[in-house]
């Protein structure tokens, strides 16, 4: 059994520091498990507990304050056979609280040692998230106003399946660390100890005091029955290699020649739920299949089921540089929400702009050639207006035909949707004829 302590870097904690005791107990637990230096990574963060990685000759990762659990998770995902041991103090625990909760919920096979000494030793003995309100520490009265956090209860509530609390002087600490290291899931060991360099100057803390305080706070012995479940990396591994990765990009060869000489910007102004963006996508796909270049961008509110829904599709016989629309070729005013959002388009419209206006939608004055469309009268519902407008756009501009639109639909849209959508096309085409 060989020690994993680093012969070239002996510990340099203050005399009497609990961390040194924890360090040796951890090393003995490693020895019991016959771990080699290459089998273990110590992931540490900032503060005196952050010296742990240096004092071992194992793999070492010393990172930012409170973030050790995040690095550890990345390492474990990449190297599932490695024993990943995280050390942090009560300082790291506080600043990295979100990571602790995530680690407990996730149950990745990491061992976390919380070297809990109730204050920030390294920076001057300020209060931490575990400082008792009765203690005298380096943050004036502030700790009197806050309630210390019970790490073990928090961890158990967040789903940690293995939680231990011991004083650094406990006779079974090594055994508990051994169990934690062997536990196939997230194991947290809350080790209470003294910081003679700072905390204990004004807060005497004998080994007996510590044992008593731990007993009062409650011993935690390991498995938390209700949280026991499969380990994250193992569950993840079972899902790797499943499912179909997306196909390689399949280029589209045109099946017709679209009739377009100058770029044409089409804007569909609708409302949420009216399938405006899908219609824009179909328009762009139709253009692509006619040998055109196209861009599409969309605009909608963050509350996706309410408000405007707008799609801008730019069609061009040449590669497209500027993706904005300076002078719209076609504006389809399908719902008041979309019109209200894009008043600027009506100002930018010219005599060359075609304005398709749903008969029940008011639009601002503009120079565009206006055509009113009675979608309702043709039996075309709100959800189908955008789709129907594509037929009208094709007919009015001559860029593509209803048949070409239909063929694109059949190539790009799931089959079960075809009949309903083709029915909309028929109604829209009839609308044009009247």
């Amino acid at each position: 059994m060989t020690s994993l302590l680093n012969p070239s870097r002996p510990p340099v904690f203050c005399p009497g520091c609990s961390h040194e005791r924890s360090l040796h107990v951890l090393d003995r637990a490693f020895q019991d498990l016959e771990l080699g230096a290459e089998d273990v990574v110590i992931v540490s963060d900032i503060g005196c507990s952050g010296l742990f990685d240096v004092f071992f000759r194992t793999h070492a990762f010393h990172g930012l304050h409170g973030r050790a659990l995040t690095y550890a998770a990345g390492i474990k995902m990449a190297r599932p056979h490695l024993k990943v041991v995280v050390t942090m103090g009560d300082g790291g625990l506080g600043i990295g609280g979100a990571h602790l909760l995530a680690a407990c919920r996730r149950n990745m096979d990491l061992t976390l040692l919380v070297l809990n000494n109730f204050n920030f030793g390294m920076t001057g003995g300020q209060f931490s998230c575990t400082t008792p309100p009765t203690a005298r520490v380096g943050s004036a009265f502030l700790n009197e106003l806050e309630h210390p956090m019970d790490v073990c209860r928090v961890a158990a509530a967040a789903g940690a399946p293995f939680v231990v609390r011991r004083s650094v002087f406990s006779t079974d600490l090594k055994e508990k660390l051994r169990e934690a290291l062997l536990y196939p899931g997230f194991a947290l060991v809350d080790v209470w100890g003294g910081c003679p360099g700072r905390y204990m100057k004004k807060n005497p803390l004998s080994p007996k005091d510590l044992e008593r305080q731990v007993a009062e706070a409650g011993l935690w012995d390991g498995p938390v029955e209700e949280n026991v479940r499969e380990e994250f990396r193992t569950s993840y591994a079972a899902r790797l290699g499943h499912g179909e990765p997306p196909l390689d990009w399949q280029g589209i060869e045109p099946f017709y020649e679209a009739s377009l000489v100058e770029p044409c910007g089409v804007v569909l102004l609708g409302a949420a739920g009216e399938r405006v963006i899908s219609a824009g996508a179909l328009l762009a796909e139709t253009a692509l299949r006619g040998g055109l270049h196209a861009t599409q961008k969309n605009e909608y509110n963050i509350t996706v089921m309410r408000g405007p829904s707008i799609t801008e599709v730019l069609l061009s016989p040449r590669p497209i540089d500027f993706t904005g629309i300076e002078h719209p070729g076609v504006i389809a005013a399908l719902a008041p929400e979309g019109v209200a959002r894009r008043k600027d388009l009506f100002e930018a419209a010219t005599e060359g702009t075609l304005l398709l206006r749903a008969a029940d939608v008011a639009v601002p004055e503009s120079r565009a050639r206006r055509r009113d469309v009675d979608f309702k009268g043709a039996g075309i519902g709100r959800k189908d207006r955008a789709l129907a407008s594509l037929v009208l756009i094709g007919q009015a501009t001559g860029i593509f035909s209803v048949e070409q639109l239909g063929q694109t639909l059949r190539q790009t849209v799931p089959e079960k949707l075809h009949p309903a959508m083709e029915e909309v096309f028929r109604k829209a085409a009839a609308l044009e004829a009247t």
Partner: protein, 372 residues
């Protein structure tokens, strides 16, 4: 091969897969979220891993751990997430951890406008690390650029062991466009140099601009990694000579090689006295503006920078050699222009910029060029 319709974020995902990315972690944020969902669709079926972090700090932290364990790693966010990445970016710079970071910029400051584009993070990415050491920032103008520059970014992160940004903008990341697959540039893939023989010192590099050969955490040789100031052995040092040598090497290894990764498009016109300089989505408005200007008989040259940091000074000087006036156009209130003024200190450098959530228009650029 024909054409396809994709947006910039999809192109980033495909570029990452092509470059050998095996680990991705991110936190949802508009307009970068579709990179997270795209990676989730693509990577686990192919044996790679994707994590959704509890926050941005965790996301980049997972990536740093995975990268040090030997995987090519990527994360993606927008400006507000870059703030949260900041301290870990400093870590990746100082401790030479390869990482690809995608920043799909949105309009700031702060929460700003999530669904509006802007290019407000140009200096933030370069200077938003403690210590102020250099990073590499590549700026695509289109979906095909997103693919190609993502591959370059992975290559550079691996080669120089440093964080590399691909910085797009909502207007690129979320705009779909036709892409000609036959013309898509697919650079060869580079992997990090591995330590082969002799005793291993984790930060020992050859020469003043060298890059330490890599061994992964979890391999047969114990590896030390630390965010603290360290010597070649990976242990804390306070020796001023060692420290100065390290920070100079971290700077040189990137800055001394910028000529090898200065990506740009120069459209020079022989008799042009005005040089337009721009990048990102604004380059597209500038190209349109340039053809209009030329059509109306106004000669003008255009330099589109795709490497923003380190500043490709040689490229800028060469492009501006015959210019009387340089006009820098940016989707912000003036950021890269300060670098252009520094590089071209003897020349007239003007600026035009907007950060109002809409694209700068070709007509506005035409007007600014003619204002002279």
């Amino acid at each position: 091969m024909g054409r396809i319709l994709i947006d910039g974020n999809e192109a980033v995902v495909r570029g990452a897969l092509y470059a050998g990315c095996r680990f991705f972690a991110g936190y949802p944020i508009t307009p970068a979220s579709s990179i997270l969902s795209g990676m989730l669709e693509a990577l686990p079926p192919a044996g790679g891993m994707v994590m959704q972090g509890e926050d941005e700090i965790a996301s980049i932290g997972y990536c740093l751990g995975a990268s040090m364990a030997g995987l090519k790693a990527m994360t993606a966010t927008s400006g507000p997430g870059i703030s949260l990445y900041s301290e870990n970016i400093s870590f990746a710079i100082g401790s030479e951890i390869p990482l690809m970071i995608v920043n799909v910029m949105r309009q700031g400051p702060s929460t700003g406008a999530a669904t509006r584009g802007a290019d407000g993070d140009v200096h933030f990415m370069r200077w938003g690390n403690s210590g102020g050491l250099p990073v590499i920032v590549l700026a695509p103008t289109s979906a095909p650029d997103c693919f190609t520059l993502t591959v370059h970014a992975f290559n550079l992160a691996e080669r120089f062991r440093c964080p590399v940004f691909v910085v797009s903008n909502k207007e690129i990341g979320m705009t779909r466009e036709t892409v000609d697959l036959d013309r898509l540039e697919r650079p060869p893939v580079i992997d990090r140099a591995i330590h082969r023989e002799g005793a291993f010192l984790p930060f020992a590099a050859q020469g003043p601009d060298g890059v330490p050969p890599f061994l992964p955490l979890g391999g047969s040789v114990p590896v030390r990694q630390t965010s603290s100031m360290h010597g070649p052995d990976g242990y804390i040092t306070t020796d001023p000579h060692q420290i100065q040598a390290l920070v100079e090497r971290l700077t040189n290894k990137v800055e001394a090689h910028v000529d090898e990764f200065s990506f740009y498009d120069l459209d020079a016109q022989a008799d042009a006295r005005t040089l337009l300089v721009t990048y990102g989505v604004t380059a597209r408005a500038a190209r349109t503006a340039v053809s209009r200007l030329r059509a109306q008989g106004t000669p003008v040259s255009l330099l589109v920078l795709k490497t923003l940091w380190p500043v490709p000074e040689r490229v800028i000087r060469r492009a501006a050699r015959h210019a009387d006036r340089i006009l820098v156009v940016e989707m912000n209130l003036g950021q890269l222009v300060h670098e252009i003024r520094r590089v071209l200190c003897a020349q007239q450098v003007d600026f035009f910029g907007l950060m109002c959530g809409r694209l700068i228009r070709p007509s506005e650029i035409v007007q600014e060029v003619c204002r002279d």
